[in-house]
């Protein structure tokens, strides 16, 4: 892994993101445009993310020709692409690219996330009912998820295999797994994995509320307290916008071009519960985690830290803790477990990538970020969740979980590199 990029509700670059995570800062607020969200009032809202301001703030860190090209590509692009493209650009530049030794046709692109333009589709549907002739004329191109993939590939000139991997909230890790497979199969020397932001359409928010999956009861006036994984007063997940991206390369290729290596992706795995339900299954989660460890040639005793999926739902967190205990033993003494979602909410299809970035940053900095909003311990959940305050820790190996509706379980193992 040689490059990272992020746009989140707690920072629109890796340095600011890391500073917020260590400080335990929540990015959850009331919705900034609440008129179409009558029941669900809170979330991670990037609707006011302004790419022009972002490019201005980035200054000389972004080469002027790439900024000019990005502005042209983004002008008609809906929110998802506008949030996602800067994260991809950051990861590319962070990896020291472009580099003549890495030919564009050997550079693949995997977009993690599907159905990511839901709000744009919903708004255009409303306009269509008023007057079909006056809908956004580019809907035929922009509504498809491939457009987010393609604007990024066009900006960076990535000409290798390029496609989307979707798997609900497991999309990020599934995308990363697929990227690793591309490299292992020899189809590419490098892969950009882009976790696309969601644009959170009102019907989906409302429907998740109906399923009782969201936090919508107790914390509407204190949104920063709503995402509270593992805490006894957790009520549901807090949906959030955000995008992340990372560059993966073969070890030989990265070393040959003198790239800075941020971490090693040691193992990846996915497992299905064979179930359409939203209900998590401990067995599938254990199979995904143990599969990733087996892929890495490691055992549970080698793991120092787990970045949990931990969405703050009553059942989901309990099942994941039970799965971790099953795999790591009844009382895994030196294992730290935390939830990035406690601060940034649930970035849905981007969650796996955005949280793997947090995981890698913790390995590199020798510091665990907290799980915030730990106020009332749940007696059933008794692991070390790094409650409320960051702390230093020597971390060599970490595991990052991402689980999705429909019984999808995925896990990535990363190792610190010198």
């Amino acid at each position: 892994m040689t490059g990272l990029g992020v746009v989140s509700v707690v920072g629109e670059n890796v340095a600011d993101y890391w500073a917020s995570l260590v400080a335990g800062r929540s990015g959850i607020t009331r919705w900034k445009n609440p008129e179409e969200k009558p029941v669900v009032h809170i979330g991670g809202d990037l609707s006011d993310f302004d790419t022009d301001l972002h490019f201005a703030r980035a200054g000389e860190r972004y080469p002027a020709p790439l900024v000019a090209k990005a502005r042209k590509l983004l002008r008609p692009t809906p929110a998802t692409g506008r949030i996602t493209l800067p994260a991809a650009l950051q990861a590319y530049l962070d990896a020291g690219l472009p580099d003549a030794s890495l030919p564009p046709e050997r550079f693949a692109h995997v977009l993690a996330g599907h159905n990511v333009n839901g709000n744009y589709v919903y708004q255009t549907g409303k306009a269509f009912r008023e007057e079909p002739e006056f809908i956004d004329p580019l809907y035929g191109v922009l509504a498809g998820d491939t457009d987010v993939l393609s604007v990024v590939s066009e900006l960076l000139g990535l000409q290798g295999p390029s496609f989307i991997v979707g798997g609900a909230c497991a999309s990020g890790n599934l995308g990363l797994m697929t990227a690793v497979d591309q490299i292992r199969a020899g189809r590419a020397d490098a892969v950009l994995v882009t976790g696309a932001s969601n644009d959170l359409d009102p019907p989906s928010l409302h429907a998740w509320m109906i399923l009782d999956a969201l936090s919508f009861r107790s914390f509407n006036d204190e949104p920063h307290r709503a995402s509270r994984p593992f805490d006894a007063r957790r009520e549901g997940f807090v949906p959030s916008q955000g995008a992340g991206a990372m560059v993966l390369e073969t070890l030989e290729g990265a070393q040959a071009r003198g790239a800075r290596i941020l971490a090693e992706v040691a193992g990846v795995a996915a497992a299905s519960d064979a179930s359409r339900l939203t209900k998590p299954d401990q067995r599938g989660q254990v199979r995904a985690m143990s599969g990733a460890l087996r892929d890495a040639g490691l055992g549970p005793e080698d793991v120092d830290y787990v970045n949990a999926h931990a969405t703050s739902t009553p059942l989901g967190d309990a099942v994941e803790v039970a799965a971790i205990k099953e795999l790591f033993g009844a009382h895994p003494r030196r294992l730290a477990v935390n939830s990035t979602k406690s601060m940034i909410g649930h970035c849905l299809s981007a969650a796996g990538i955005v949280e793997l970035i947090a995981t890698v940053l913790q390995l590199r900095h020798g510091m665990l970020h907290p799980t915030i909003n730990q106020e009332t311990p749940d007696p059933e959940l008794d692991l070390d969740f790094v409650p409320n305050v960051a702390r230093e820790a020597r971390l060599e190996t970490a595991l990052s979980n991402a689980f999705g509706f429909g019984g999808l379980n995925s896990c990535v193992v990363v190792k610190r590199t010198p």
């Binding site: 002008r75 008609p76 002739e133 006056f134 956004d136 004329p137 580019l138």
Partner: protein, 84 residues
Amino acid sequence: MTRDEMFATVKANIREIVEGTKDVDIREDQSMRDLGADSLEIVEVVSRSMKQLQIKVPRTQLSGASNLKELLDLFEKSAMAARG
């Protein structure tokens, strides 16, 4: 709505959408391709202009316009038909 007003609307959209046209003199005998527009930008200029002018020209006719003059002719004809 005069033809001059229609042309002003189309020109404003070209200048906003097509890169490098901000300070260029735009004439009726030019096509948007001449001005550097790609296929998506042409669709966007035409559709946005029709929406702003509240004109609906059938898509089958629009593809026949080979320059801005012919596009404005279609716009004018459609506006007159709508007025009856």
